[in-house]
Subunit: 230 residues, 2 copies
DNA sequence: GCAAAAGTGTTCTCTCTACACCCATGG
DNA sequence: CCATGGGTGTAGAGAGAACACTTTTGC
């Protein structure tokens, strides 16, 4: 097998910024680093790419290992490569953003990795440049969600409008006018109203909705500006 | 120095998708691959990252080598890592998008790399996954230019409105209404009108404009939707 | 009956879009 | 004087923003 001459190979890792939403707050799944140095510090879930694995594949594998989930919304968003970002050895990291339904997450796996959900506003200090990655991921999610209906990936099959609105408010850290929000959501035609109500959040109860998958896919492009309340 | 155990290092390269605009067409700078295998096929300009170089630094260096230019608009947009994307040896590539003023480009360097400008609509087949990178770069540039005034990076210090409009038309491959275009550009307040005219394009001549740098920076965010003529 | 959250319309403003003619100049 | 590209305004439609009260129901 031929080789390129005089080049220095480095390690390539994938790190996943995993978002979840519990109906109240936007959260991030973090683990305690298992190896020395800086063992037991909070960290993103990551791993090195395998020999016959592409980048997306590695991200999927890593996500599966930590959460037990397949078919998750996963998007590569930036590569980090400062020479000294990992003090152990030169490592390039490709960062992926994942949006999961927090209810489908298997808690058992928690223990193996000492994983915990943190509110995005209360994320502890992380190892290496993971703090930078997290804020870049937040920017990315805001940018993406303003143009595409991706936040539904964070919700269960059935959800209520108040939940959805609160999710947008969490992501953008802004209050949103309820009447305008409902109008835009309905105008998009992506939601199906159910007849049952979720009674857990109030006495009156809020109707359940779910995504009309066909329309969701079709309209993925023309979903501009759910956001703009100042 | 400690190491991670049982991992396999790979090569990491940076590839630059370099855009230019000659007043008529949007163009791409390509080189003939200098080494075997598939020597002399058209390729993006790229290179491996150096030992003490970060990714942005490598991209800057590579761009400098090929174009002789510093301080160029350069943006990382995607990492490519299929196991067999480079048949020689496993290589991850980080793709960067560059926008340069084609007039500042030093032609001498051409010969060393056998570089040539191609209209984006007439790009030849490229090695590896470089075709994919180019179309991803086109998507990225459209997306970015819809939100931010980045296309000015492609223009000389002084330019005319017809040139600018043509550039937008090239990028989006759409005709744009001239009166609406002028109104939006003026409303942005980013342009300074000069008293001289460019007489090269017509008998009447078109006024030169240049960027008001301060306002350009300030308004980089609030520049929405120069684009939308159907 | 009351506390707490859900649900519902209208008006105004502003922005986007469509559209056609005169102007300046070099030859 | 005429061919060529440059430059200019207006009216109508649609989208976004601001804004407050009534409904339901468990306790």
């Amino acid at each position: 097998m031929p080789h390129y001459q005089n080049q220095n190979p480095v390690l390539v890792a994938v790190d996943c910024i995993i978002f979840g939403y519990d109906g109240e707050s936007l959260k991030l799944l973090l683990i305690k680093r298992a190896i020395e140095p800086i063992k037991d510090q909070w960290s993103l879930m990551g791993g090195f790419i395998g020999k016959n694995e592409d980048l997306d594949g590695a991200a999927q594998r890593i996500l599966l290992e930590l959460t037990g989930l397949h078919d998750v919304y996963l998007e590569q968003f930036h590569a980090y490569g400062s020479p000294d970002r990992d003090p152990v050895e030169r490592t390039i990291s490709i960062a992926y953003l994942a949006l999961i339904d927090i209810n489908k997450y298997s808690r058992q796996i928690n223990d193996q990795y000492h994983a915990e959900w943190f509110k995005v506003k209360e994320v502890p200090q992380l190892i290496f440049d993971h703090d930078t990655m997290v804020s870049a991921a937040m920017d990315k999610i805001r940018h993406q969600a303003a143009l595409n209906p991706i936040l539904f990936e964070l919700l269960p099959e059935k959800f209520t409008i108040p939940q959805l609105q609160n999710l947008y408010e969490q992501v953008y850290d802004l209050p949103i006018d309820n009447r305008n929000f409902v109008r835009k959501i309905n105008a998009s035609g992506m939601l199906i109203k159910h007849s049952e109500k979720d009674k857990s959040g109030s006495r009156r109860g809020a109707f359940y909705y779910s995504l009309d998958k066909a329309k969701h896919n079709a309209q993925f492009k023309s979903f501009l500006s759910l956001i703009s309340n100042s």
